[in-house]
Subunit: 175 residues, 2 copies
């Protein structure tokens, strides 16, 4: 069976969506999403707010209630019939997120085995036929298979990878 | 740089040693180590004790104070001059161990980067030139590089891999 490695944040779970919502609520403001092309939230807001937004992933529980991307659960369950599916997330950067991520997967993907879950830093240690990720830094060092970009506001400018805009694209390509 | 993936328990950290010590203390008994060839601790003790010993890895803090194997720290620091060194541990089986393992590495290998730490289940997702591990089940599915067995009581009967008896053997082979 071919191996598909799926990134978690902004591929399966909607990290950017929660970051925007949390920022808007805490600062009683609105993010101008038209400015987000090629940028992260913290890069288009006042500097004094940016520090707070950059600290979100260090907050206990922040990763626990991210929304699941539309179509992700159904597609992953279909993929598992034909591929070995792994979730590979750079959780090591935020050790406080370990249990939140683990519990999130148990809740949102209840049939997903812990055996296929990977918390790492560098992703060039991953041996898979495909890596689907929203970050250039992970894709450009991935040499064991095909790197595929999953669209997120911060990567709209990249054009050096196959791109999936959403889970329908992913479904069409693999299934 | 070539990549070396090192298992954590019973390669870098002395899991079996703590399991024996904890069992002996709690049951006021002595393990007959001569019976351990090819076996785990719980396989050579009374059945009613085995259940407790098998629950050790689920205890909060159990992995936090394992002893480091003699020579491991110094050799890892030397290896890092010539290789990309990763620690790859099947922590997913024991989610309660995530932070213990992370903190253990910060304490015992303070220069080791989180970027090179991997918590996983199946290790055939690992792309490395070498995997040093004490478990047959991890080595026999590792196809991207050379699987190397690190001696532990439970693997004395295996003869299908290159074998390191200790960190001096590992040092001699790689350095």
């Amino acid at each position: 069976m071919k191996k598909i490695a799926l990134d978690m944040d902004d591929v399966i779970a909607d990290y950017v969506g929660k970051a925007i919502k949390t920022y808007e609520e805490e600062f009683d403001t609105k993010v101008d999403k038209s400015l987000m092309d090629g940028k992260k939230v913290w890069q288009i807001i006042p500097e004094e707010h940016a520090k707070v937004v950059r600290s979100f992933p260090y907050r206990a529980g922040f990763f626990r209630d991210l929304a699941i991307k539309p179509g992700a659960r159904e597609t992953i369950e279909e993929l598992q019939q034909k591929y070995e599916v792994f979730i590979v997330t750079a959780a090591m950067e935020f050790p406080g997120s370990f249990l939140d991520k683990y519990e999130w997967i148990k809740e949102y993907l209840p049939n997903f085995s812990w055996r296929n879950l990977v918390f790492c830093g560098h992703k060039h240690i991953i041996d898979a036929d495909y890596l689907v990720d929203d970050h250039d830094k992970n894709l450009n060092t991935f040499t064991s298979g095909e790197p595929i970009l999953f669209s997120a506001p911060h990567n709209t400018h990249l054009d050096c990878y196959r791109r999936f805009d959403n889970w329908q694209d992913l479904h069409d390509y693999f299934l």
